[in-house]
Every structure is written in C-alpha cells, then in structure tokens.
C-alpha cells in the first residue's frame, strides 16, 4: 500500500532523511520510532506530498506522490505534528470544510456523525476550536484525517500532549482503525508502538536502523536469562546458595534496597526458566523473595542498542577521519 525507495531529503547541507526504503502492506499498523529530530516527520511529510524528496520515490497505493499528487493525496488522511486547525471555526464547520476540501462523496451527515462518534468529539461539535482543550484538538485533528475514509492514515505523534487517559483512548482508536486502514504512526514513546503497532521501524539520524515485527520485539521482552531478585536474608549465604544452583551462571550483588533485603542480579544459562527452582530453594532456606523480575531485552533496550550502535559506528568513522587529518 505504501512503498518508498531510497528516499533522501536534504535541508541545505543537513540530511534529514537518508536513503529510507520500506514497504507497508495493506491493513498493517507500522510505528516509526526514533528520537526527536530523527527524520520521522520529514519522512511522513514526503509521503503526504507536503515536502518533496531530494531523490528517491514515494508511492501510495501504487501512485507516485510526485507524479500524480492529486490522486495520491486522495488516498491519504494525514495528521501532522501540530493538528492543522482553524481557530475561528466550530468543529462542525471545520469538518464540513474538510469534507468539501477533500471532495468527499459519502453521505455528509452520516459520515461526519460516524467520525465524530468514533473520535469522541460529538459533544463538542458546536464549540469553537479555539476554546477546545489540547486533547480535544488532537481528536479533531484525527477526525479530520478520517474524513473521506482514506485507505491510508498517517499520524505524526498522535498522542503528544495528551493526558494518560486520552493517550489510552487514542491508542485504542488507532488500533481499531487498523485492518481496514493502513496506518503509519510516529512516536518517540516506546510503549506506544508496543501497544499499537504490528511492525516497528526505528529511525535515527535519517536512517532506518531496525525494521522488525512487533511480535519479535515483544518476544524479546520475555527473555528469561537475566533475573533481578530481591531477597531478605544474609547476603553471603544467599549468594552462595544461588551460585550453587544448576543453570545459574553468575550472581551479582546489586546492594541493599532497604534494611533487610538485598538485590541480586542473576544470569542463567539460555533456555532455562530458573524462576521456580530459585523460589523453591529460597523457600527451603527460609529466605523470603520479595521481588522477582525477568529483565529481558525490552523495546527500550532494543531501541537504545539500535541507536547507540549507529552512534558508535559514526564515532568510529569520525575518529578515523580525525586520524587521517
């Protein structure tokens, strides 16, 4: 449904997007993840035809956005970073304007009523956008993208500035739109992509550094080879007891958390779930375990390692260049 080939965008000398190629299948929800200024917004703006790429191709529904912008834009509903709202209009007037602007042919009353219900703005339809709270403005922004029922939806940081309850609502909404719509959403919040997306593309400094199925990443979360334990009892005895166990490769003392408990970091042999044996052993020795956590590779770690690998590589290059000079 969406396809980019070697997208490059220069802002003067700065490369905002550097050779990005990816494909999104119909009905897929893809998350663009990356630190601020990574090039997510630029890539999205190119896809929507707001910016032109310096080189490379962007296609939506098989139509090149540069060659036939009008047709391609018909397929896209776009929510930019800042919802593009006219402050002096009421929500109803605004949505009617968008309806006309997009040249929608669906039944006006019914379509707009549906959208306002889905996005939860049916209660503020007659209020001036100027007077709406940030959360409602964001929702009106999403509603605007949905007008005309476009098959592709592109949301640039849809949950920024919302309160926790609204964040959950927006995520549920986006998730419910998947399947019927192809969605790309960008964020720098890791839990967001985890909660919403089928696939995650991590972008850093204009480049794709990882492109994985969300399930693969979620699998990494239940990695059981590293356990963090909080146990009450004498430090030395516990260390020794843990160290003796089969399957435990190393035990590390992470210090006292409070007066009588200590935190241990236990590394286990791959593929062995040591949680139950450790529990039984400690129970037998009457050292109560008050906390146990499998510290696997969660998304945060995947992200940090993807981003820092990149930085290391560049650091090396820079050092090399420096040495040559």
């Amino acid at each position: 449904m969406i396809k980019t080939e070697h997208l490059v965008k220069h802002y003067g000398k700065v490369k905002a997007v550097d050779d990005i190629s990816f494909e999104v299948a119909k009905g897929e929800i893809v998350g663009f993840l990356g630190p601020n200024g990574a090039g997510k917004s630029t890539a999205m703006n190119i896809l929507c035809g707001y910016l032109s790429s310096t080189s490379g191709k962007a296609m939506v529904g098989g139509i090149d956005i540069l060659e036939n912008p009008k047709e391609a834009k018909k397929l896209i509903g776009f929510l930019p970073e800042l919802p593009p709202l006219y402050q002096d209009m009421t929500v109803r007037e605004y949505l009617n304007f968008i309806y006309d602007l997009k040249g929608t042919t669906l039944n006006r009353e019914k379509h707009l009523a549906e959208i306002s219900e889905v996005t939860g703005i049916d209660g503020v339809m007659n209020r001036l956008i100027r007077n709406l709270s940030k959360g409602y403005r964001q929702r009106v922004g999403i509603a605007q993208a949905l007008v005309g029922d476009p098959p592709v939806l592109i949301f640039d940081e849809p949950t920024v500035g919302l309160d926790p309850r609204q964040i959950i609502e927006v995520r549920t909404l986006v998730k419910s739109l998947g399947g019927k719509h192809t969605i790309i959403l960008s964020t720098h919040i890791l839990s967001e992509v985890q909660a919403v997306c089928d696939r995650i593309i991590i972008i850093n400094k204009g480049k794709i550094v990882a492109d994985e199925k969300a399930a693969t990443v979620a699998g990494a979360v239940t990695n059981l080879s590293n356990l963090t334990l909080k146990i009450c009892g004498p430090k030395k005895e516990i260390m020794a007891a843990l160290g003796e166990m089969d399957g435990v490769t190393s035990v590390e003392d992470r210090g006292n958390t409070d007066a009588d408990s200590t935190t241990f970091f236990v590394t286990c042999a791959g593929g062995v779930d040591m949680r139950k044996p450790i529990f039984r052993k400690m129970a037998q020795l009457q050292y109560p375990i008050i906390g146990m956590e499998a510290q696997g590779l969660d998304l945060e770690n995947v992200f940090m390692s993807a981003v820092s690998d990149e930085e290391e590589d560049q650091g090396k290059k820079r050092r090399k260049r420096g040495a040559r000079k």
Binding site: H10, Y11, G12, N45, C48, G49, Y50, L51, S52, P69, K70, E71, K73, K74, I76, F78, P80, L82, P84, L85, Y86, Q87, D88, M89, E93, F97, I98, D100, L101, K102, G103, Q144
Partner: protein, 235 residues
Amino acid sequence: MFAIYKREMRSYFTTPIGYVFLAVFAAVSAAFFAHYTYMAEKADLSGYFRTMVTAYVLMIPVLTMKCFADELKGKTDQLLLTAPVSITGVVFAKFFAALCTYMAGVLISMINFIFLAVNNYKVQTGIAVGMLLGMILVGAACIAVGIFISAMTESQLVAALLSLVVLAVMQFTDVFNNAIPFAWLRTVLSNISIGSRYALLADGRFDFSAILYYLSIAGVFILLTIRVFERKRWH
C-alpha cells in the same frame, strides 16, 4: 478549490476584517467622491479615481495580510497542501476571495453616484464604467502583490507593513522618477509603477495596454506566490 474560497470568504466576515475593510472603503470613497465632485461643483471623476487608487496602498494590505501568513502561523498550510487540491487552486481561491470582498467595497461605493444624480450632475456612463473597471483592475493587481507578500511571512503585521511599503513604492515611483539620474533605472521603475498607468484609465478611456498591464501584474504575482509554495516543498 471552491471549499477554500468559501472558507476564506467566511473568515473575512466572521472576523472584523471584512467589515472594517468595507466600512473604511465606503467612508473613504464617499469622502473623496464628495470632495472631487459635487463639493467642487464638477462632474469630473478622474480626481476621485486617482485618490481612491492611491488610498489602496493603505487599504489592500488589511485585506491580504492574513491570507497566507495566518495559515503558515497555524500550520494549516500543511492541511491545504496535503489535500487533493493543487497549489495553483489554493492560491487562486485565496485571490478570488480577497478580490470578491474588495469588489463588494467597489459595489458599495457606487452608492455615491446616486448623490451625483440627486444633485443633477451628469456623468457619462462610459466614463463611469471605465473607471470602475479601472478600480477593479488596479485592486486586483494590488491584491496579488499583497497575497504574495503574505505567503512569505508568518506574521500578519509584517505582511501588512511590507505590503504597504511595496505598494507605496509601486504607486509613487513615477512621482519622484524624474529625479533619478539613471535612464535605465527610470525605465525599470516606470515599468513596475502602478501609478504610471492611472492616467490612461482615469479619463475613462478603454485603454487596452493599461488593462493588460494590470492583469499581467496580478498574474505575475499570483505565479510568484505559487512558486513560493513550490519552492518551500523543494526547499
């Protein structure tokens, strides 16, 4: 395109801008009209026409200042440019909305002619029509200039002031043109001078070159505005 035009018209008349413009236009035209015709005891319209188009320097920027500056500030240009509408369509929609509001002003100012009739002055219909056409053409050219400037800044105030300066330069160059020692500069200035072509229209003569001149000024600045947005895309 029509949707944008409609929204633009709506925004002129849900904010005070449209009403202020029309009120000022009506007041100024009435004052000048009275001053140059029945108060001077003449039925000669050329003085009225000249003063009116000079006053556009102050009035048109009010009309055009928010055209694009407001969109850029609220980032709504992103909405227009990602909608299935061409940039040309967007610019023309804005241009026609401003032009229509302006023409409403011209229409209102025609009330003045009733007073002429009441006071038993006779004006040749041909001259009156030619003059109105002239007003619309000069207005269209000034609006295109104002819209172009509005597309280059996020600030309405900057857009208004800059349009004011540019329009003033375009109108008044012929006044001090003779003082310029370089012949080539005089030629250039007289070619961009809106003021230099009034005389042809002020007499109510149907002068084709003047009509073409104002139309091309409007066209050039509309094209430049479209270019501004295309350039922005390519950065």
